[in-house]
């Protein structure tokens, strides 16, 4: 066999992962990716010792729920140049760029081997966030516009470099890395299960439930812990409540960007209802404190259930009437419809995930393809739209909010009470590999962990859905007016810190 097949949040002895020669590894990746049901959820390298890297590739099959995992050992002394997968499959571009940036591995024929995030321990110390090699066109007619890293608003930093022909954007290049905190390294340096839980919560403060659950899934898998049904339900609900809250906030932001004040204010106020539900549940408005590996410190009791149901009810009527009104407002539609279109072909090409894929009629959704927790019993069906424009990304949010509320209600009805349990140190299986995926509101998050022979974490890999989807933003602004950039950007609402790590 060229690969081992794992399920979501499964672990295996590292020795079970087949080691392939690079030529076979290369062929195998491309062969698997020929099937449209397959996409690469992680491909990364880590130092096994001073002399070699292990490159691990994880490819999901959406039809079978299997994850194909296989690896290649790379010699850091002889440093052979490798044939680039990106040259054949564009979606692999960012994985290879990251490997080059971290370890100096050369990929032959990579069309766009640009820096990813300027990590502290990168291979080339001369590369810094201040000297990004921007693409440029020599021409008297065209001009360049630089935006950022500090943007007009309360938002994270990133630099956007446009090449424009008059008002029309020809090309956009996005330079990130300003938020780099060396999170993956900290997962190794911090020792206790609990410290790492707090770290997981802070990977991206808008996706706390998504990242904290996925960390918990990995630790529980490696620690051979089976969580109770109420614990599982409470995490599933947290993920869906986070989706509904952030989607609602994004609808507000989209209204702001097209100067629709009513929607902007009302959706903000509505989001408050949802995040204050988290506040009363765990004491934090963004689901911090709620999810703990191997434990459930805030189990859902009858009082909480009632509170959640009441809040959902008060939210939903007001949400629906506002959304109906907004999606019938000609002024809003004129700005949303046909703006920033991502085609299905482009989405496939760049390996788009999550809501971006689903607005291009690609039903990619970990909740249905690789179900975890209670998504199996809900038998989740991904909602898809096909216009790929700002309107689709706004509408999908609206539809997904409604779907999330329905799931929360269904799950609450079957959730038994349980006593609170608290974090304990979790002993991990030694010499093992584990992978877990969740569908956060942006799309698929994938974390992989490797342990050493004592059961300590040896490497931790985080992939935010934005790693793929930033390229979608770069593509959709082409041929659009530069003035539409803010609304395009907001319609994706991608993560800077999740990408920069």
């Amino acid at each position: 066999m060229n690969h081992v097949i794992l399920k979501n949040s499964q672990s295996t002895a590292i020795s079970n992962i087949p080691l392939l020669d690079y030529s076979l590894f290369y062929e195998h990746v491309l062969n698997l990716l020929k099937d449209n049901a397959c996409h690469c959820v992680n491909y990364y390298a880590y130092k096994e010792n001073g002399e070699q890297l292990r490159m691990i590739c994880c490819i999901c099959n959406d039809n079978t729920s299997g994850i194909y995992v296989f690896s290649h050992i790379y010699n850091l002394t002889s440093k052979p140049a490798l044939e680039s997968l990106t040259a054949v499959n564009t979606g692999m571009h960012v994985y290879e760029r990251e490997i080059t940036e971290n370890f100096g591995v050369e990929f032959i024929n990579h069309p766009w081997n640009k820096p990813v995030r300027f990590p502290t321990n990168g291979a080339d110390k001369l590369k810094t966030a201040d000297n990004y090699p921007f693409y440029s066109i020599k021409s008297h007619e065209l001009h360049e516009v630089g935006v950022g890293p500090i943007h007009a608003g309360i938002i994270e930093p990133g630099h956007f470099r446009f090449i424009c022909n008059g008002e029309k954007v020809l090309h956009l290049e996005i330079h990130l890395g300003y938020q780099h905190r060396a999170v993956e390294e900290l997962f190794i340096n911090k020792k206790s299960t609990f410290e790492k839980t707090i770290l997981a919560e802070s990977i991206a403060g808008d996706s706390v439930a998504a990242n904290a659950t996925i960390y918990a899934m990995l630790m529980e898998s490696l620690g051979n812990i089976i969580i109770s049904r109420p614990t599982s339900i409470s995490r599933t609900i947290a993920i869906e409540l986070e989706r509904a809250a952030i989607h609602t906030g994004d609808l507000s932001a989209l209204c702001t960007d097209v100067a629709y004040q009513l929607g902007s204010s009302v959706f903000q106020g509505l989001r408050t209802t949802l995040i204050n539900t988290f506040l009363k549940w765990s004491g934090n408005r963004f689901a911090r404190r709620l999810i703990r590996a191997g434990a459930n410190p805030y189990p859902l009791n009858n009082e909480l259930k009632k509170l959640i149901l009441n809040n959902l009810e008060s939210f939903e009527t007001r949400f629906n009437e506002m959304a109906d009104y907004m999606f019938n407002n000609p002024g809003v539609l004129a700005r949303f419809e046909g703006t920033g279109i991502l085609t299905k072909e482009q989405a496939q090409l760049i390996n788009a995930v999550g809501m971006v894929a689903r607005t291009c009629d690609i039903p990619r959704d970990i909740r249905s393809s690789h179900p975890y927790y209670n998504f199996n019993e809900i038998s989740h069906k991904a909602i898809c739209l096909d216009s790929g424009d700002v309107q689709a990304r706004a509408m999908l949010r609206r539809l997904e909010v409604t779907q999330s509320l329905e799931y929360i209600r269904t799950l609450l009805a079957t959730c038994d009470e349980e006593a609170a349990t608290y974090t304990k140190e979790i002993k991990l299986m030694p010499d093992a590999f584990a992978i877990a995926l969740t569908e956060g509101w942006r799309g698929e998050h994938c974390h992989c962990a490797v342990t050493d022979n004592k059961g300590n974490l040896k490497h931790y890999k985080i992939k935010d859905p934005s790693l793929h989807n930033w390229m979608a933003l770069a593509l959709v602004v082409r041929k659009n007016d530069i003035s539409d950039f803010p609304v395009c950007n907001k319609s994706f609402d991608l993560s800077y810190c999740g990408y920069d790590l």
Partner: protein
């Protein structure tokens, strides 16, 4: 038209009339209190679990500038002597006032001697701020955005976030201050005209938080620019930020 009226009516009035006297749900983790009880059997459970080295013992003390409000010390303390109250007024301009010792009963306040004279005079009615994220997780940004929404409506005090540092009176930093964003932060601070104020928002900015030991963090810029306000929390609740800024600009005690 009728639909519009319905929306207005159903939204009702959502703003908080007095941001200085709100009762947050009791579960909200605000100012902690540590009772003066003796710890038994050489217990140091709180110190051992704390993910951000905010707690020390003998006597038990807690540094709000480092605390991420995870609540774990409260849960684990066998004597139940640590309790987080919903008091959200936890800003100060003096690091030492953010230290909470066992047995101590006091409100967290600003040190009036450390507030520069011109702050109240110049910024007491209008304060425009520029935000710079320097390695934040976007949690602080979500809450700072919320400060201006229909619930908290910070704009009523003339406090607002603006786009251009040239139009601003001060800079708010979130995140532990990472190497890759130091230069952008420095340029932004310098672009703000004098006199200017400087606020560190969130435990990451105040002390580095859980990122303090990261190789990617570089806080040397703080040797040059001294903060006028420290806003604890992870992320700080909008009411924490607003009440802190009001206190700094002389509009509350």
């Amino acid at each position: 038209m009728f639909d519009l009226i319905k929306i207005w009516k159903h939204q009702g009035r959502q703003y908080i009339p007095d941001v200085l006297s709100v009762t947050l749900p009791s579960i909200h983790a605000g100012k902690p209190q540590i009772e003066a009880k003796s710890c038994k059997n050489n217990c140091k459970a709180c110190k051992d679990i704390c993910p951000s080295k905010a707690i020390d013992i003998n006597p038990v003390n807690l540094d709000l500038g480092k605390c991420v409000f995870c609540g774990e010390c409260e849960t684990l303390c066998p004597e139940k002597k640590i309790a987080f109250t919903p008091d959200y007024k936890i800003c100060s301009n003096d690091q030492s006032l953010l230290m909470i010792y066992e047995g101590e009963q006091r409100e967290i306040k600003l040190n009036p001697d450390k507030i520069r004279n011109e702050i109240k005079r110049l910024f007491g009615h209008s304060l425009k701020l520029r935000l710079v994220s320097a390695g934040s997780c976007n949690g602080c940004e979500l809450e700072l955005n919320a400060c201006g929404n229909v619930n908290f409506d910070m704009g009523r005090y003339g406090i607002e976030f603006l786009a251009s540092p040239r139009h601003c009176d001060g800079v708010v930093v979130t995140g532990p201050i990472v190497e890759n964003s130091v230069e952008a932060l420095r340029i932004t601070i310098e672009a703000v005209p004098h006199p200017k104020i400087f606020i560190l928002n969130g435990v990451c900015a105040v002390s580095g938080g859980i990122f303090a030991e990261s190789n990617a963090v570089n806080r040397s810029i703080l040797d040059i620019y001294k903060p006028d306000l420290l806003v604890p929390g992870c992320p700080p609740h909008p009411l924490t930020f607003i009440s802190g800024v009001l206190a700094l600009t002389g509009r509350s005690a």
